[in-house]
């Protein structure tokens, strides 16, 4: 029993980490008024960059940082299109989702002798070091270091958004950019910064997949995590802790699917039914406990100076 519970916690943490980073990226961007549905594409780019840099330098931490930079680079395209050129943010986001995996595959083939996957790479350390608690039930709790990083990122972003002058500015730009502008806040610069930060977070999310959960990049390393992260943003009412909770809930549901499944389980549900659990649970929680979720008022609206 204890083993199962610890296992449940461990799997929840593992599963939710890439989602948390992705969702945080979504929160930052949308709080400043730019819809970012391109998280998936940015994560894929981050996933590839992380694995490649770790492979060539032998240093996974460099890979992790580089993944943030790669995410930001792709986010820059989104920022230019949607902030400078006032393009439709949804369309730009879709373009990013198409571009990201395409670019990732292209560069993967370029860097790795035409292969669609990288060789195994050096991964980030475990929280309590390799082989800690080996052979004991507590082994499941020796999660990847990215789990802790995701939690720290959530706290930092919550602090910045709600407890600092900077956060107030970001939120005001997302709610009523014209008012923020009259008060001397540079709307364009604020939004640029937030979209870039969003790319950095999404890149980290990709890295926590290819440098912790698995140790290589392949075409399906990121397959849908970006979209689940987007759902978590809305689910969590555009707050960092809300998004974190939503990702944890989804991770927990997946962990339950895993722990309850299998031919040796005492619960004999078909695995197809069990596989629906995360989605069913999400809908139930959404309907019963979360209630109305209101987006930042200027979310998705390009800001044009002087326009009423």
């Amino acid at each position: 029993m204890l083993t199962s519970i610890l296992l449940l916690v461990g799997i929840t943490m593992m599963y939710s980490t890439p989602l948390v980073f992705g969702a945080l990226g979504g929160v930052i961007s949308e709080r400043s008024g730019v819809i970012n549905i391109g998280i998936e594409g940015m994560m894929t780019m981050g996933a590839l960059t992380a694995a490649s840099v770790s492979y060539y330098t032998g240093n996974p931490w460099l890979g992790f940082l580089a993944a943030g930079a790669a995410g930001a680079a792709i986010a820059l395209l989104h920022a230019i299109a949607s902030i400078t050129f006032n393009a439709d943010q949804t369309i730009s986001g879709i373009a990013i989702n198409l571009l990201g995996p395409g670019f990732a595959l292209f560069f993967c083939r370029l860097l790795f002798d035409n292969a669609a996957m990288t060789p195994p790479v050096k991964t980030l350390p475990k929280l309590f070091g390799e082989n800690a608690f080996h052979g004991t039930p507590a082994e499941s709790l020796n999660v990847d270091v990215t789990v802790l990083l995701a939690l720290i990122a959530t706290v930092v972003i919550w602090f910045v958004l709600y407890k600092t002058k900077w956060g107030l500015r970001i939120r005001s730009v997302g709610e009523y950019p014209a008012a923020a502008d009259t008060l001397g806040i540079n709307v364009t610069r604020t939004r640029y910064l937030c979209v870039l930060m969003s790319g950095v977070m999404a890149g980290f999310g990709g890295a926590s997949m290819t440098l912790a959960i698995i140790s290589q990049f392949n075409q399906t390393a990121i397959s849908g995590q970006g979209f689940i992260a987007l759902a978590a943003v809305i689910f969590g009412k555009w707050t960092p802790y809300g998004a974190y909770g939503a990702c944890m809930l989804f991770g927990l549901a997946q962990a339950l699917t895993v722990v309850l499944g299998g031919s040796d389980s005492s619960v004999t549900l078909p695995s197809q039914i069990l596989a629906m659990l995360p989605y069913v649970l999400t809908i139930i929680v959404l309907v019963l406990f979360v209630g109305r979720s209101v987006a930042p008022k200027a979310d998705g609206v390009p800001y044009e100076k002087g326009e009423r």
Binding site: M14, Y15, N131, S140, T220, S223, Q254, A255, G262, A275
Partner: protein, 356 residues
């Protein structure tokens, strides 16, 4: 400033467009192709293959198929080419293009292309078609279906697992339940039962499905659960979900068994062995038969250990000499038809009953 930015954006888009659209181009001079097109090869027999969405360098079926064709070119002088599909909608277009290029034989790789190949074969009765890993109830006379008896290599790895396990508990992670995955699951279970009987012990097999072929995190979670639940060897037949399984074995310092190709490169100290499907061999041999004018159309060719199109890798440092030799002996028995591994739950139950 805006103009420069616009230019940059346009440039980057153009770049990505060329990066994406290069897929559909047929090319015989592409990666590491052996031999020159201008050599003595009499290029009167043209063979082309259309990949599924994995692309030609997927380090799996598509790549192996292409290697088979390249071998065909080197040995028999056929003119070979391939077309990559970026999405499922490309299948039909790529097949049409291959027909327009006057190919004599066109391969489709993977069961995902089943319908597309069937339609193309019906629409072009004078062209020969072949497909890897798919069978039909009614096969048109110009279509050759090639399937593998995956239960045979699965049986061998199951046997090795039973011989190697110390906890007497082993695992199986499947992708999505289907007839093909059943071959792996029941072949493996039968192999475990056979090995356990030989050793005079009982070995429990825990099976779990990920309901996905792509979710590596789920594969890792399931395998971690199995390892912490007492399994010390886990076999997977679950595509990229298996990447997670092998990762879990690496972290728990237990064994995983790879599938389709030798997956030892992913974790040399933790991949015990792999259940191989030698697609390259299959594509080469069948192409050659059709090239030689053998009428294979309308039939389903089933390949396994006997045809040397399935088996286990020669590398065996993790299992030891004795186990490997025993497995090789078993492989000979399967080859001679003395031992028939089961491919479904029903056959498996009969198999186990007869074992006692």
């Amino acid at each position: 400033m805006k103009k420069i930015l616009a230019l940059l954006l346009a440039a980057s888009m153009a770049m990505s467009a060329t990066a994406c659209s290069s897929g559909a181009a047929t090319s015989s001079a592409a990666p590491a192709s052996s031999g020159e097109t201008s050599s003595v090869a009499k290029a009167d027999f043209k063979v082309s293959m259309v990949t599924d969405t994995g692309g030609v360098n997927d380090q799996s079926f598509n790549q192996l198929s292409w290697e088979g064709l390249q071998k065909l070119k080197a040995d028999n002088g056929a003119d070979v080419s391939y077309a990559e599909s970026k999405q499922e909608a490309d299948y039909a277009t790529n097949l049409d293009k291959a027909v327009d290029d006057e190919n004599n034989l066109i391969w489709g790789v993977g069961f995902a292309m089943g319908d597309a190949i069937l339609n193309a074969a019906k629409a072009n009765p004078d062209v020969q078609f072949a497909i890897v890993d798919n069978a039909y109830e009614e096969t048109p006379s110009n279509l050759t279906a090639v399937v593998f008896r995956a239960q045979e290599p699965s049986f061998l790895v199951g046997y090795i697992a039973a011989k190697t396990t110390k906890t007497n508990k082993v695992g199986f992670v499947g992708g999505v339940k289907s007839d093909v995955i059943d071959q792996f699951e029941y072949g493996y279970k039968a192999g475990v039962a056979y090995g356990a009987k030989e050793m005079g012990k009982t070995v429990e097999v825990v099976a779990q499905y990920a309901e996905s072929f792509v979710d590596s995190a789920k594969g890792k979670a399931i395998a971690s659960k199995m390892f912490s639940g007492g399994c010390d060897i886990v076999f997977h037949a679950a595509g990229n979900v298996g990447t997670g399984v092998i990762e879990a074995a690496k972290e728990a310092n237990k064994y995983a068994i790879g599938v389709d190709k030798d997956q030892a490169f992913l974790a040399p100290n933790n991949v015990l062995t792999s259940a191989l499907k030698k697609v390259d061999k299959a594509v080469e041999e069948v192409s050659k038969e059709i090239m030689d004018g053998k009428a294979t159309g309308g039939t389903t060719i089933s390949l396994g250990v006997k045809e040397e199109a399935a088996g286990i890798p020669e590398e065996h440092k993790l299992m030891g000499e004795e186990t490997y030799k025993a497995a090789a002996a078993l492989q000979d028995q399967i080859k001679d038809g003395k031992l028939v591994p089961p491919a479904s739950e029903k056959d498996y139950n009969t198999f186990v009953k007869n074992l006692k």
